[in-house]
């Protein structure tokens, strides 16, 4: 047996990898060898810890010391001080892991983790995702063993039903019900598919699960296969997730080698195999019928439902499709029981949900919270609030299908139904926080730009309708808005929602409709007063020099790239609005705060 006195866990998720964690891993290995303690200390690359903002992050056990923003130059010091001499390097610790008295807190006491409940992410940042033994050590494949030897397929479906789990891919469809629909049809061939296309801008929880705990998805798909009577699984994962794809491949290879995938698993006669299919970045391919068409090698376009995939799916056979995070909950439900899972969350939304926090928030990263946690808790307690003490304006959830949640709903418990009732939706769990400097019309335009781009073009309401909406927003942000535009936008939005073929078009108007609902005055300021209150829409901005404050130093005129500022030294300067390109360079340079924008 190998016995280590200390283990150095380095996050190698995509976030930390891009901030250089691979070099950190190598530096630790090198320094530890140089110090002659490589037999005592193990370096373990793991999945995402969630605090991506402060990456690369490293945790050293048994102390549980949480180091953040580690640079290669810091590694020798950590090795010689912490690992050789047992002295924790305090100045490199994650700052919030020290309390006022400078006591070191354990990870679970840090605000960022305190209110979290990690179910889907429980192994992320804890195990080495490329080592199946570590997964097994943390009860991996135990749920599969239990299902195959102790439960009937009906009992499995019943357990998932009782848990109250709902689809985490966006729609929130009850998972148990979906499994029973796929179980019913009699067919010699059925398929289990996993949706790892994760197209919502800003969402990356599925990627983190695949990178940090790939086996939990494989195991859940096998359980689903047993439950519905399928022997083949497909994971549809976007090619833009190379680390996830690589770790999935390794995981599948290791599971096959151990006989956990393949024929006669655990000697029970159950056979199951899993293959990977790569998507190439079309958002619409996340929609279930388009995804199945893409796996078949067809063009990724949605088709009308019914027939639903549970009846007629991949290659015309009954097919079960679930999202990565949905699967990531399954093994825990089997092992701990449906009541355990149903004991978390709200009446109609059970369990936990992972959110990708982004935008104007201090702790950008991944958080997993019990359903029913309030938005205020997520943003202020876990997320650490908004940078520079700016005011909260809104949170956008549900990506291009969702909407904005304004200040007045900060205390609403987050669950599927509450979010829909206030005009947003859970979506896949992207949460973008906006402060007073964000223009809501501009945000709506951003999301619509995305849908216009991603519309597959099959149905006219989406292909033409979203473009017309986009053009209207463009007009408004450029100062050409007219009275009546808002009503037109609302009418068109409603029509698109009612008539588009698939979820993409049916939800595309949401970002516009919800911002009009809560920030109508901001739209009206753009249209009626030709003014952008947040100071974002360039065409509506004008820079001016306050003659009271200007001392005539000429710095602004020298920095202006358009030659729009003129004046005499020691007298007041002025901006020629017809030449100004609104780059803001003058305002940045002025030492006397004499230039303002409005």
């Amino acid at each position: 047996m190998e016995f280590y006195r200390s283990q150095v866990l380095c996050c190698t998720g995509t976030g930390c990898t891009s901030s250089g964690s691979n070099a950190i891993v190598r530096a630790f290995e090198y320094e530890i060898e140089q110090a002659g303690i490589d037999k005592e200390i193990k370096v373990v690359p793991t999945g995402c810890f969630g605090l991506c903002e402060t990456g690369p992050v490293v945790i050293i056990y048994p102390e549980g010391s949480f180091y953040s923003r580690i640079k290669v130059e810091d590694v020798p010091r950590i090795v010689s001080e912490h690992l050789v001499k047992g002295r924790i390097v305090r100045d490199l610790l994650y700052s919030e892991s020290l309390d006022e008295k400078e006591n070191i807190l354990s990870l679970n006491e840090v605000e960022f983790y305190k209110k979290q409940k990690r179910v889907a992410l429980r192994n992320c940042g804890v195990i080495d995702p490329e080592n199946i033994d570590e997964y097994i050590a943390f009860d991996g494949y135990k749920a599969l063993a239990k299902v195959l030897t102790e439960m009937t397929p009906e009992a499995v479906v019943e357990c998932v039903k009782q848990s109250g789990l709902r689809g985490r891919g966006g729609g929130g469809f009850p998972t148990g019900l979906k499994w029973s629909l796929a179980q019913k049809p009699v067919s010699d061939i059925k398929y289990v598919c996993c949706n790892a296309d994760e197209g919502d801008p800003g969402a990356f929880m599925d990627r983190s699960v695949l990178e940090g705990d790939p086996h939990c998805v494989l195991e859940a798909m096998m359980i689903a296969g047993y439950a519905i009577g399928a022997q083949q699984g497909y994971i549809y994962v976007r090619a833009e997730y190379p680390i996830a794809v690589k770790r999935l491949r390794i995981a599948i290879g290791q599971a096959k080698e151990m006989g956990l995938l393949g024929d006669d698993i655990f000697g029970t006669g159950f056979n199951f195999d899993i293959d990977i299919r790569l998507g190439s970045g079309a958002f619409v391919c996340g929609e279930e019928t388009a995804l199945l068409a893409s796996i078949e090698g067809e063009r990724g376009e949605p088709r009308p439902r019914p027939p639903f995939p549970a009846v007629k799916g991949l290659f015309g056979k009954p097919t079960l499709l679930n999202n990565v995070e949905t699967y990531a909950n399954i093994c825990q439900i089997i092992l701990n029981g449906a009541e355990w899972f149903a004991g978390m969350g709200t009446e109609k939304s059970k369990g936990t949900k992972v959110f990708a926090l982004g935008g104007k928030i201090n702790n950008t990263g991944l958080v997993e919270i019990p359903m029913g946690t309030t938005l205020r808790e997520v943003i202020y307690d876990i997320g650490g609030g908004i940078p520079d003490n700016k005011g909260f304006k809104a949170a956008q959830t549900g990506g291009p299908s969702g909407g904005c949640i304004p200040v007045e709903h900060l205390d609403i418990p987050i669950d599927y139904d509450n979010l829909i009732s206030i005009g947003s939706m859970m979506g896949s769990g992207g949460m973008i926080v906006m402060d007073e400097d964000n223009c809501m019309v501009d945000i709506a335009k951003f999301f619509l730009d995305f849908t216009v781009d991603e519309s597959c073009g099959k149905c006219p309401p989406c292909r033409i309708g979203t473009r017309r909406m986009y053009e209207m927003l463009e007009k408004i942000t450029e100062g050409r808005g007219e009275p009546g535009d808002l009503e037109k936008l609302e009418q068109l939005g409603k029509n698109i929602k009612a008539s588009a073929l698939c979820g993409l078009g049916q939800t595309a108007p949401n970002p516009v409709l919800s911002t009009i609902r809560y920030f109508r005055d901001e739209y009206e300021a753009h249209i009626n007063e030709k003014r952008c209150p947040a100071g974002v829409c360039k065409a509506l901005l004008s820079y001016s020099i306050d003659p009271e404050k200007c001392i005539g130093c000429s710095l602004c005129s020298r920095v202006c790239p358009a030659g729009a500022i003129s004046g005499e030294i020691k007298k007041t300067f002025a901006i020629d609005q017809s030449k100004c390109i609104k780059c803001g360079a003058c305002m940045e340079k002025c030492k006397f705060k004499a230039i303002s924008v409005g």
Binding site: M1, S6, E40, G86, R87, I136, F266
Partner: protein
């Protein structure tokens, strides 16, 4: 994989090598490894504890190091923490004392009185 027993065997074996990531309830053997400890020969003591733990397949045992405990003249110092019990402090520990500490204290639960700080202070005068 042909049987659940096989799975269980892998689980047990791997858990031993990673339990320090989740185990806070087990025994902690803490070796003072500041400059004073290292100078007095703490490193071979530390590795002896690790070898012993590995050899005996000890579960729920963490061998860790700490900084200066404060009584530098008695280094190498080793402290054993077990849940629900007073910690036991061993002083002037040498590698050949390690086997006895592990067998009698860690495995059988009887601290080796003769090696403890109290005994040393009472008898060294």
């Amino acid at each position: 994989m042909k049987s659940i027993q096989e799975l269980e065997a892998i689980r047990k074996k791997t858990l031993e090598s990673i339990n320090l990531r989740k185990d806070t309830e087990g025994t902690r053997i803490v070796v003072g490894m500041a400059t004073c400890g290292i100078a007095a020969g703490a490193r071979p003591v530390l590795t002896a504890f690790m070898d012993e733990a590995a050899k005996r397949n000890l579960q729920h045992v963490v061998v860790a190091q700490t900084g200066c405990i404060g009584v530098c003249r008695l280094e190498p110092i080793v402290e054993v923490y077990q849940p629900g019990k007073e910690k036991v402090t061993y002083v002037k520990v040498t590698p050949d004392m390690v086997g006895k500490i592990v067998t009698e204290h860690i495995v059988n639960g009887n601290p080796v009185t003769g090696y403890t700080i109290g005994y040393y202070e009472a008898h060294s005068k």
